[in-house]
Amino acid sequence: MAVTQFVVNGLLVGALFAAVAVGFALIWGVVDIINLAHGEMVMLGGYTSYWVLSLITGNAEGSPALFLVTIPAAIGVLYVVGYGLQRTLVSRVIGTDIFLTLLVTFGISIAIQQLAIQAWSANPRSIQVSFADPSLVAAGLVIPKMKLIAFVGAIVLTVALYVFLQRTRTGRAIRAVSQNPEAAALVGIDVEHTRAVTFGVSSAIAGGVGAFIATILNIQPQMGLIYTLKSFVIVVFGGVGSIPGALVGGLLLGSVEELTAGFVSSQWTLAVSFTLLIVLLVVKPNGLFGEGAEQ
């Protein structure tokens, strides 16, 4: 039964990875930027939720309902951060050399990291959510309640993004800009604004996920890069611009990591996922779903 348990753990965590990756894929697809600061949005979301909860309760502990109240705060703050970053910095390098866009986002990433260390110290923190009774046990499988809530939360965020893109007017504008910015401008879409909204929405989703991550794992200022790279693995796996692909990729990556942790050692999970990244890039650069980006 150990394998099933590992896979279940992997799926629970994988949904969080997937929700982070969806935003990363959206920015890549619409703005054509690899946002290396995407992981920092996860980190900032986690801290926002942490501080809001501390403000309410005095320490970072609380009931599940109280914790869920902080999620909109994390989402709102990160939307503003994402929108602002795109408008002030990233928009200046759109359309230039790919390498310059990578450098700008990397610059943003390390600057945010160090500022976070200055502000909140490098110590890992976590949000303690209190439950009345222990983990759920179903058919011999242990499912921690908070992980289940985080899983559902991540799925809800991902689906919400999907619906937003498919059903709303702004979502349609985003898809139009991703297909052809010039034609989108011709029909009256404010391209710059739409790109900034894309950035904001993606960061907001990442921030919301960050809050969940703060409850089941922990948060510290330098956690971001790992999430950025995991997003990259997932997007490469699922194909650029494919939300279902990213979801499947995230769940798979989570399972692979948990299986590695279970059968080898938890120290090797990162080495395995980065190796997987390189292998995937070389073997299957277009992803399993979607058509992928041009080389």
Partner: protein
């Protein structure tokens, strides 16, 4: 540094520093590249002879040379060939660990260990290059970042590398030895790259950067040239890493595979002017001095500064100091000779460093 001002091309600047003067400097550097390099080598070799043997400045200057080596190696692949690598520090880490392990656990003499470190880095580059050099753009950059982090994780988990706590080296040569070692490697690398930039090899690398498909269509085996440049960069980076592990007397996964350093050296190459010989070296000297100052004056803010410097460079003047100056220099020639003549004179001035 008049570079930032040269953008707005005010009348005052033109009087103080006319473009044709700058152009003449470029011409002079282009004609006397080897002499300037030799002069730089002599000047750089002087400080220890004049009595500067230990202490803070010795360390800072040695580190400056180290970063110049790293930036120049990065630029060989990133600037000259157009493959921006975010994983050059993997070679550095492998060189550093190879030297540390050989010197400490196998009691190998350190010059031998350094050579072994360089060769190991080259072998690793050949192996990795076969995979990642097939990728382009985003994919290449992220794959190399993945290589760096995978190497870091592996070193953290192995026993031979001392795990997360790393390795401490106590019996190391004196500071003067490292000064000359870093300086010697830097001069050798500059000479080699300067030489290569005027050979068929260098031109093909530039052709790959400008349009790889056309270069292939012209019958060049681009994979061969890319891999060769990549291995050459790995050689110098690996030797620098090996020297650094002894210089620093301590090595752990965080310092050996430092992702922030990787960005730092890219920033140096860009700031100075990538695709040239002098640019990365000038950028390394300038940025490292600045970072060193910030590190002592405002502890803990150096990465904020680095991030800011990267963003400003990329948005403000992506051509770097040398590139911006060269553009400025060719401006006057454009009006004097008109048309494409100016472009020609701007293009074939090869610069070298004189630091």
């Amino acid at each position: 540094m008049s570079t930032s001002e040269s953008e707005d091309s005010t009348g005052l600047l033109r009087t103080v520093l006319p473009p044709n003067q700058v152009d003449r400097v470029f011409d002079f550097c282009g004609e006397n590249g080897w002499k300037l390099l030799a002069l730089g080598a002599v000047v750089g070799a002087l400080p220890p002879l004049l009595g500067l043997e230990q202490g803070y400045y010795m360390t800072v200057v040695s580190e400056m040379y180290l970063f110049a080596i790293l930036a120049l190696s990065w630029d060989l692949v990133g600037g000259q060939t157009g493959y921006p690598s975010f994983g050059n520090m993997a070679f550095f880490g492998i060189g550093a660990y190879a030297t540390a392990i050989l010197v400490k656990d196998f009691a190998v003499a350190f010059p031998v260990a350094l050579i072994a470190a360089g060769l190991l880095a080259v072998a690793f580059a050949a192996l990795i290059g076969a995979a990642v050099l097939r990728l382009r753009g985003h994919y290449f950059a992220i794959a190399t970042l993945g290589v760096l982090l995978a190497a870091q994780q592996i070193s953290r988990n192995l026993d031979i590398t001392g795990g997360a706590s790393g390795k401490i080296l106590l019996q190391v040569p004196s500071g003067t030895v490292f000064y000359y070692l870093f300086f010697g490697v830097l001069v050798a690398e500059m000479a080699l790259i300067y030489y290569l930039s005027n050979t068929r090899f260098g031109f093909i690398l530039n052709a790959i950067r400008d349009d790889e498909e056309k270069a292939t269509a012209m019958g060049f085996n681009t994979t061969y040239y890319k891999t060769a440049a990549w291995m050459l960069a790995a050689l110098f980076t690996g030797v620098a890493g090996g020297t650094y592990s002894l210089f620093n007397t301590f090595i752990d996964p965080q310092t050996a595979y430092n992702g922030a350093w990787n960005v730092e050296l890219i920033a140096m190459a860009l700031l100075g002017g990538s695709g040239t010989v002098a640019g990365p070296v000038i950028g390394a000297f300038g940025l490292h001095t600045l970072i060193e100052f910030v590190e002592t004056a405002f502890v803990g803010w150096q990465l904020v500064l680095l991030g800011g410097a990267v963003i400003v460079t990329v948005i403000g003047f992506p051509e770097g100091v040398v590139g911006t100056l060269r553009e400025y220099a060719s401006e006057m020639a454009y009006y004097e000779r008109g048309g494409m003549a100016a472009v020609d004179s701007g293009e074939d001035t090869e610069v070298t460093a004189d630091e």
